[in-house]
Each structure stands twice: as structure tokens, then as C-alpha cells.
Symmetry: C2
Subunit: 426 residues, 2 copies
């Protein structure tokens, strides 16, 4: 965990405002859930590895005294924003628009080993559509997220899209046993980092047959070609997928690409897997120039709300890697100094000059200016104090002294030089 310095908070606030501004125009509305959820809720999802990283909160008072060793905690800090969203929807759906288009921006916590670029508290930035089975949800989530990334000046955006149901059919048609499907997909997901050969090596080391591995890669090649359609199924050899799955994927890709023009690209990538176990349909990621991994990812998770609400509700979401983008924006800001129009009003001790200084400050602030009032430090020469203030990038300054004078010290501040003898002795 870490502290954020003022310039870091400013960069994050500005990024958040840009993202929110885009998402609001798409009709998304911001919601908030508490940081703490019941452990029974947090462990009811397919959060996978993340569930092992929950910060657990000790029971309080009597409850703790009567607790066994295995039963010391009852609450946990949320490890993502999806599980809380689903719980939120189940609790509040009667008071929410239908479908719900939700924005969530907030901290999540994971008890990871501290390492460079990984934090145990970090910000997630999600949009989700709950209650819409149409793939219009996917189209709008993708467009909104791409627009938000463009608003942050990210360039060369490429969206990769796939469908979990194609992946399931793929491992099955390749002859992998069903129980191995998840681990095969985890290996396949690494294709963009370790290459096809790397994936083949990994699968082979896991003891899978050369026949299945070869067939998997042969089918991946075939998937780049047009499917035959027969009997409601799209077929690539003996890889068969429900035709509606392929049609929806095609429509999403076409609708997004037509609308995107030259601003960004979208393409089908049958090796895209995404880690989380809860996805049920289309899945997508966005990459950008200068980032080795994706800057946003999401997908459809139609089964998850039902687990909390008891009746099926379609759901789909897209999450921006906020921390990664904040790091880039910090680097970009780097050397750029703060050029905001700040004024310093220096005032020597005493009521008459304080009142005049407050008046100047009030007038300037009422015009929207940033004004800091500093007491004149009698232990420092005026030159030294102004020099130190100049380091804080004030664009203007006034001195109210005990003799009733009001002196403009703007040029001394800007020149970052000691005040002239005239100013000091006047």
C-alpha cells in the first residue's frame, strides 16, 4: 500500500473525470458499495486465486471470544468490484433502473506479496450492464471503454474479442479431457507472451498428447477462416459452435469497427481466454501502444447474478486497468511543472494588514483564482522567503507589511531572484 502525493492525486482525479465524462454520455450511472463484504459473499463467486488474497477482518467483541481458530473472521475487504456489484444488484434491484448501467471506481484490496508495480490497495474502474441479454451490451461496453481510453490520449488501441463457448468447443474438439479444459485454456492465454511454441511446450509438459496439441493449433488456424453453417451450428471441421454465438460475435465486431472508423481496431482472437472463471460468453481485452499487457478487459458473466438472486439475470462488464494508466499519465506529467495560476499573499503580523490581505484573497478567490496566504516569516530575509515560495510555482504575489504598504512581488517570484534593494528598503 502506498501514499499518494498531491500531484499523483491530481493526475488520478483528472483521469477519473475524463473517464466518467465519457461513461456518463453512454448513460452509465455511478454506484458505490462498501469496502467490507461478508466473507461468505466474497467466497461465493468464482474469484479463483483472488479469494486466497482476501484481507480478512477479525470478529469484534463477544463474537471473537466465542470463535474457533478457523472462524476468527467474518468480513473481508473486497478483492474486485464485480462480486460486490452482483451482491448490490441482488439487494437493490427494485430501486435500480432496468437494465442497470453501472460505473464503479474505487479501491480494492489483495494481500499480495509486495513487489514493484503491484500494490495491495489499488483502484479499479468498471462499467457493467446488468439485465441485458442482447449483445448490444457488449457493443456499448466496448465503445464506451475505447472512447474513455481515447479521452486519456492512449493510442493504437486494439480490441481482441472471443467467446468462452468457442473455447470450450475448441478444447473438446481437440480431444482434451473436460477436466483439463481450464488448465489448457490458462496455457493458451499465454500465446501472446510466450508464442505458439511456448504454449505447445507447456501443454506437452503437462502430459497432454501430441495429437490433442496439434489438433488444437490446427483448429485455431481453421478458426481464422469462415465457418460452414449447418443445422444451426457453425462448423470448422469437427469444431462445432452454436450458430447464434458466431453470429453475435460477428455482429459485435462489425458494429464496433464500423463505428470506430480509424480511431481503433477490433479483431477476433481465438487465443484470448481471460483468467476469471465466471465468464460465460463473449470476452474482450484492449491493448495500447507502449503496454505489454492489456489496459482493459471484460466479458459476459450471465450465471453470476443468479447465484445471488436465485433467478438468472444476464450481465456483462468491462474494466479499465486504472493503476497501469495512472502510472503512464504520471510519467507523461513527469517534468511538466504545475503552471496553474496561483497567487501568494504574504502578510506581516498585525490586524490591519491581515484584514487587507484577506480582502485581496477573497476577491481573487471569488474570481476562481487559487490564493495561498502565508505569514511573513521574521526569521527569514524577504529575499529568502520569496525564493522558497518561487519553488512552489506561484505566478503572482503581494506583500502586505506592517507599515501599511502593499507591494507587488510578482516579478521577484517569477524571476526567482531576490527582491530589489528598493523593495526591501522602501
Amino acid at each position: 500500500m502506498r501514499d499518494l502525493l498531491p500531484q499523483q492525486v491530481r493526475i488520478r482525479e483528472s483521469a477519473t473525470e475524463k473517464i466518467l465524462s465519457v461513461y456518463r454520455r453512454y448513460g452509465f450511472v455511478r454506484i458505490e458499495t462498501p469496502a467490507l463484504e461478508s466473507l461468505s459473499i466474497l467466497t461465493r463467486s468464482d474469484g479463483g486465486e483472488n479469494e486466497k488474497l482476501i484481507f480478512k477482518v477479525l470478529k469484534r467483541g463477544e463474537k471473537l471470544e466465542s470463535a474457533g481458530v478457523e472462524d476468527l473472521a467474518d468480513l473481508g475487504l473486497r478483492f474486485d468490484l464485480t462480486v460486490p456489484l452482483v451482491r448490490y444488484y441482488a439487494n437493490n434491484h427494485g430501486k435500480l433502473p432496468n437494465p442497470l448501467r453501472a460505473i464503479q471506481i474505487g479501491p480494492v484490496w489483495r494481500a499480495e506479496r509486495p513487489q514493484k508495480g503491484r500494490y495491495r490497495q489499488f483502484t479499479q474502474c468498471d462499467i457493467d450492464v446488468i439485465g441485458l441479454a442482447s449483445h448490444l451490451a457488449e457493443v456499448e461496453l466496448i465503445r464506451a471503454t475505447a472512447d474513455a481510453l481515447l479521452a486519456l490520449d492512449l493510442s493504437d488501441l486494439v480490441i481482441r474479442i472471443n467467446d468462452r463457448r468457442i473455447l470450450t468447443a475448441l478444447t473438446r474438439a481437440s480431444g482434451f479431457p473436460d477436466h483439463a479444459s481450464a488448465s489448457v485454456l490458462i496455457s493458451l492465454d499465454k500465446a501472446d507472451r510466450i508464442g505458439d511454441a511456448g504454449v505447445q511446450k507447456e501443454l506437452s509438459e503437462q502430459g497432454h498428447s501430441a495429437g490433442s496439441i496439434d489438433k488444437l493449433f490446427w483448429l485455431l488456424e481453421r478458426l481464422k477462416t469462415k465457418a460452414e453453417n449447418a443445422g444451426g451450428q457453425a462448423r470448422w471441421g469437427d469444431l462445432r459452435v452454436d450458430e447464434t454465438v458466431v453470429r453475435a460475435l460477428t455482429e459485435v465486431i462489425e458494429a464496433v469497427q464500423t463505428d470506430a472508423g480509424h480511431r481503433y481496431q477490433i479483431r477476433f482472437d481465438p487465443t484470448l481466454v481471460r483468467g476469471m472463471g465466471y465468464y460465460t460468453g463473449q470476452i474482450f481485452e484492449i491493448s495500447s501502444a507502449g503496454y505489454s499487457s492489456s489496459v482493459a478487459g471484460g466479458g459476459r458473466y450471465d450465471d453470476m447474478v443468479g447465484r445471488f438472486l436465485g433467478r438468472p439475470v444476464p450481465a456483462c462488464g468491462f474494466s479499465i486497468g486504472f493503476e497501469r494508466i495512472a502510472s503512464l499519465l504520471e510519467e507523461r506529467a513527469g517534468a511538466a511543472r504545475d503552471t496553474s495560476d496561483k497567487t501568494v499573499v504574504l502578510v506581516e503580523a498585525g490586524t490591519p494588514q491581515l484584514e487587507r490581505a484577506l480582502e485581496e484573497a477573497r476577491e481573487r478567490r471569488s474570481r476562481g483564482e487559487i490564493v495561498v496566504i502565508e505569514p511573513r516569516d521574521p526569521k527569514k530575509s524577504l529575499g529568502k522567503q520569496i525564493y522558497e515560495l518561487a519553488q512552489q510555482d506561484f505566478g503572482a504575489g503581494t506583500l502586505y507589511d506592517a507599515a501599511g504598504r502593499c507591494v507587488d512581488v510578482t516579478s521577484e517570484l517569477r524571476g526567482k531572484r531576490a527582491p530589489s534593494a528598493k523593495l526591501i528598503t522602501e
Copy 2:
């Protein structure tokens, strides 16, 4: 803990923006600290009762296995923003402006018994000046906070101000034993709720002598009169306070009142105590019409940074009761419907009309409009679907149908009536 619905988040965002806009003009900058702090940090302050309300986080992995029953937790959720600020300043002061004028808005957690209007996670909104011994810090904190409350349309603001050093002298001069000073002040603090007679009764029940109690109230009356000054001390009978304390208090009151004009009032209140043990100098609260207790409170705490940094650093802060104000703003918003300029674009399934709908949405959004695209639900009549959408306060609407038509349904939405036969059959 609780969920926030979209309209609640919107009200809070708007309040936060107004407050931040005022604070920034006073030269304050926003900082952020993590939600979790070491328990050893959280229990090192004079947090008093709040320290008992810490949500403690269970140790992870091996650390937990080797922990004794008394030693199960190492982290805790922050219970206020002041302790983390002081720790933050101690860790980061080399990278921060001096003095630091910090804004913090964020959640804090207290394991209180759930009850109406009390939440276990709630938002605090603090400004603090660290590194400024001058009472200019108090003047600016009070003005900034009052301005922020005015920006939120709170009315009849009254600021009460006192100094801890006057309170200490007061209990001593009244003849209370030093060890009882804190409990006497806790009773005195209730004067505005239970009246003088109530305080007298409570002190008497605690076993204090009638002589001390009478003298306390006699001195409180005397404090309303002008002090005699002798030998560097301000004197009211045998109540003696360092003259600089009284002079600073007078200057703050005069400077604030002169600048406030008729916008708000400030007055000395010798019965103002404020609970937290860490205050060392001036303390202040703001009340507003319609609130039984204060809407903001703060004071100087010059000893606290030194406890973390090892050298004394002056500090002073003012905290707005954000939750209380958010409740009021929610009540005010109450019946007021959302009148934002939202458009709904209804689209029947199919690529051509989807592309046209996306184009309309993109154009409108590029002009800053809020546009929601909804799939036409074939299971509902058009009239029913439009009626349901009308409940969501859309100001305009378009329908793209499978026959390639584009129909303006704005009047149907606004009239909240079923579309005309013409529209349906056309």
C-alpha cells in the same frame, strides 16, 4: 455499512466537487492515504474511544500460524483521517510543500453497533495545515470551511471558538483536581444540549464540590467580559491565561468576522470543548440552521506530528461532517426528478439499423449529450416499452426499426402515453 444508489452517489459527487472547488482556491491540495494502517500507528494517537472501534485485519499466511491469540491482527482500517495524515506527513514531508495544506476526502471505518444514521463506513472531509504555527492557519481553515458550507447552501452558519489552554486554566482556577479535568470538560461540553443546570447536576453527581462547580460557572460568566492584562497574562479574577493565547483568539475572531460580513457569525464560547484528546490550542465548531449538533469541527494539535516525526511540527485542521450534510442534500433533492437531457435510442435487432443507431448516439454524445441505446424488446408492445422508458425521465427518443425507418418518439416519451396508432402501423 450500506450501498449507495445512483442518485445518492450523484448528490455526494456534486457536494464533493463544490467543497473541493472552494478548498482548492484556498491553495489546499488533495492527498490520499491507504485505508489500512499498522495497528501500532492507529493506537499511537489520542484517538480515545475510536481506538476501541478499529476493524482489525487478520495476519496472513505464516504470520497468522505463529501468532498468539492476543496477536492475531497487524493492520487496521483507519478510524479517522487525522492519524493517517500525521503518519503520511512524517513519511513524505520531504516531498511535500511546506506548509502543507492538505485536503482529504475518503472513507473511514468504525465498528459501532449499527443504529439509525450511524454507519460503520462513512466519509470524512478534512482540511489541515501542517507546518504553520501562526494563527493565520486557523483564520484560513475557518474561512475555507465556512465558504465550503455556504457553497452547499447551508444557512445561518455560526462558528464557535475556544482555546484548550483557557479550558485547562478554567478547571484549575475553579479548584477541580487536575486528574478530573478531562471528565469535567466532557460534562461542560454538553452545556449546549443539557443546559447549565444539567452540567451542574452532572458534576455534582460525580462528587465534585459545590464550591468548584459554582466557581466554574462564575468564571464562565467572567470570561464574557474583557480581561485585565498584567505581567504577560490575561486575568479574569484568579483565572490566568497567557496573554498571547487571548490575543490570538481575539485576532482570529476579528479577522474572520470582518471578512465574513453578514455571511456568517463567529463568537467565543468558553463552554466549547470538543472530544478528541489531541487538541492543544484553538478549537472550533460550526453549526447551521436545522442541525441540532455541529456540521464541522476542528482545532490545533501541535503535539501529534512530533510523536511520529520526532521533532515538533505545528498542525491544525477542520473537518466537515460529510454524512450529515449528504443526508440533508438527499432530503432536499427528494422529490426533485432528474431533469438531465437524456436521450434513448431504441433499436430493433439487425445490423443496418444498429449501425444507424450507433451513429446517432455517437453524434449526440460528441455534443456532450447522455444517450442510452436500448434494444427493442420484441416481447413487449412498443407502447409498453416506451411507457417503461418514460419512467426513467428521458427527454427525447428515437426508434430505428427493422424496416429501415427512423421515428422520433420524443412526444410519446414526454407525454408518457402510448405511441399513436400512426406510429405503430406506419
